[in-house]
């Protein structure tokens, strides 16, 4: 009996708390509508997920760039396409002035883009290009070019005279961006170092899985010269494994993303040589800038490329710095 009463009280408490939460939410909405009355334009933003630093940085960049000029409504679909489509339909229903979008899936998002077209709301896509539908522009740091840049830098600075290097690729089969990065690297590698041998190409999705993979690969191969990972998780996971195996003098790691953790690892001056750096802040700036231009009726380019660089212990190296 006592327990039943207790649970009843608990439930009441939870309901009250969630009610307060809801009412706070509607307060926000009310203010946003008020501001809209004050001629403040509203941008709906749906990024792939907010679980990764990269998208957190884009979000922060958009907020900063928008400042007081725009009202921003964020949505976090958390890699769920259906949730993202729902969010975009909600944006259309709310009649936002523009939408900034990193789609969860390039094909699956097309119906939502059609909805936006019907509602006559301009869409700016960033980082992941939809394979169809109508959107104003695509802003991205090209993944293929990023992979190529990594290969060029690695050949110049890490492999140097080594004509027959043993290479390991760490990828994520669930991400087309990851595959493109690896393909970009391979493209340059095949041209410039035909003697290179790919001793392993494995996929994973977390730092722990990449660490395990690298432990296995290290055991299976007596000599590995270079690891190229599609992202921070793979780079750091392999770095963990290489350190634990004590083979830092032999193997070099190049990652992608240049996350804070990677930057710290690179600064240690060990075998973590570099990481491709995208500039989420620049992507965010370009997004807000494109929104402004579109709303002012200016023409913008269909593809806007934002520069990438290699983060190294000696600073950031840009594509122009390399041959």
């Amino acid at each position: 009996m006592k327990i039943k009463k207790l649970t009843a009280v608990l439930f009441c408490f939870i309901m009250v708390v969630s009610l307060i939460g809801c009412s706070m939410g509607s307060d926000e909405k009310a203010t946003s509508e008020k501001k809209k009355d004050g001629n403040k334009k509203v941008i709906g933003v749906s990024l792939m997920t907010l679980q990764y630093e990269f998208f957190q940085d884009i979000k922060a960049g958009i907020e900063e760039e928008a400042g007081d000029d725009y009202e921003i409504v964020f949505n976090d679909p958390n890699m769920d396409l259906q949730a993202q489509i729902d969010a975009i339909e909600n944006f259309c229903a709310q009649k936002v002035d523009a939408i900034i979008l990193t789609c969860v899936d390039g094909d699956g998002i097309i119906p939502a883009l059609d909805t936006c077209e019907e509602a006559n709301i301009p869409v700016i896509t960033v980082d992941y290009k939809p394979s169809g539908g109508k959107y104003e522009t695509y802003i991205g740091s090209d993944n293929f070019l990023g992979g190529q840049l990594a290969a060029k830098w690695a050949i110049e600075n890490v492999l140097a005279d080594n004509e027959n290097p043993n290479i390991v690729f760490l990828s994520n089969p669930m991400s087309i961006a990851a595959v493109e990065r690896i393909n970009g690297f391979k493209d340059i590698l095949e041209k410039e170092r035909p003697g290179a041998k790919v001793v392993a190409e494995q996929g994973g999705d977390s730092r722990e899985s990449f660490m395990s993979i690298m432990e296995d690969v290290l055991l299976a191969n007596d000599r590995i010269d270079l690891v190229f990972s599609y992202g921070a998780q793979g780079g750091l996971g392999s770095y963990d494994a290489i350190q634990a195996a004590g083979r830092e003098d032999e193997v070099s790691v190049i990652g992608f993303d240049a996350s804070d953790e990677e930057q710290a690892a690179i600064a240690e001056g060990g075998c973590y040589k570099g990481s491709i750096m995208q500039f989420p802040k620049k992507l965010a700036e370009a997004c807000v800038d494109s929104v402004t231009k579109t709303l002012n009726g200016e023409k913008i380019e269909k593809d806007i490329a934002v520069e990438v660089g290699v983060y190294t212990a000696d600073g950031v190296v840009y594509a122009d710095d390399l041959k």
Binding site: P173, E215, D240, E261
Partner: protein, 315 residues
């Protein structure tokens, strides 16, 4: 008497099936890649499976009692984040790890209490906890990993005692205790009774509610220990750590012969199950088989292993 003899024989047959699978795997891999059988690689595999295997202990308890715990992966992440955040705030190693484990033990207790007293199926309660714990982790870290930890924290995940990696030592200690509790204590035996027939267990005077809460608490405990080991292995608190670990742990249990219907299970089977999964991954990595194929083969092995077990036990 004759019936009993038959039962023992059946038991042996079941046990043999899993050993058989393990043996065949080892022989095949050893022939294809001799490096597989080196002591270095064997210790490497044991270290890799230690996290899943430790979680598997609590999961076995839960499954044998005919319940399920889906929250363990998120709880492991929560423990990792709690331990690393505490360390970073300047607390000692012992205290930080204790805080982490106490938090997950409390979450486990909550799972058990809500399930038992509010009468919500454990599937639902722990699914809720899965989301809550992951959410707390993301809120606490804002999705950024916790780094910049004192070097001494590496020991637990990467150090050795003699030539044995410390995670393996932790795993073995947990299994010895877990095995003893399950086999030789009143509480341990009651788990089988609860899973086998809960009404009968109640009638025979087993404190079913209390024990169910305890079972979930133990699952929280092992998830916490595994989470701290994992964080130390990664030398950082990763908000995305442990994603999907619950499924790996369940797979280890069922490959090892634990029934998801409850009442049946053995702890060393779970350890073997975890090892089988680890060996498959390791072997395919050594052979450079694409991860995409690994998933397919892992799936087949789970179904085949459990299928073999079922065929044998229905005979």
């Amino acid at each position: 008497m004759k019936e009993k003899g038959k039962q023992i024989k059946k038991q042996n047959w079941n046990d043999l099936a899993i050993f058989f699978i393990l043996l065949v795997l080892i022989i095949i891999l050893a022939i294809i890649r001799p490096v597989f059988l080196t002591p270095n690689n064997i210790l490497n595999i044991m270290r890799q499976v230690s996290v899943v295997a430790i979680i598997g202990i609590g999961m076995s308890y839960v499954l044998i009692s005919a319940e399920i715990d889906l929250s363990v992966g998120s709880l492991a992440a929560l423990a990792g984040i709690a331990a690393t955040m505490a360390l970073k705030s300047g607390m000692g190693m012992g205290i930080s790890m204790t805080i982490a484990v106490v938090i997950t033990v409390f979450c486990g207790l909550l799972n058990g209490a809500i399930h038992t007293f509010v009468k919500i199926p454990s599937f639902i309660v722990t699914m809720g906890m899965l989301n809550i714990a992951r959410g707390i982790v993301l809120v606490m870290t804002n999705s950024y990993p916790v780094t910049g930890l004192p070097d001494s924290f590496k020991m637990l995940g990467r150090g050795y005692i003699g030539f044995v990696p410390i995670p393996v030592v932790v795993m073995i200690v947990c299994y010895v205790i877990g095995y003893f509790v399950l086999k030789y204590t009143k509480f341990g035996r009651s788990i089988y009774a609860i899973g086998g027939n809960i009404e009968a267990a109640k009638l025979s005077g087993i404190p079913v509610s209390r024990n169910k809460v305890l079972i979930h608490t133990i699952s929280g405990l092992t998830a916490g220990i595994a989470g701290v080991v994992l964080a130390s292995r990664l030398f950082s608190g990763q908000p995305s750590a442990g994603n999907g670990l619950e499924l790996d742990a369940i797979a280890a249990c069922v490959i090892g012969g634990t029934s998801t219907a409850g009442g049946v299970g053995r702890l060393w089977g779970t350890l073997l199950g975890a090892l089988i999964m680890g060996i498959i991954t390791n072997g395919m990595n050594l052979m450079n088989i694409s991860t995409n194929w690994q998933l397919i083969i892992q799936g087949i092995i789970i179904i085949v292993a459990v299928g073999l077990d079922r065929i044998k036990s229905s005979n």
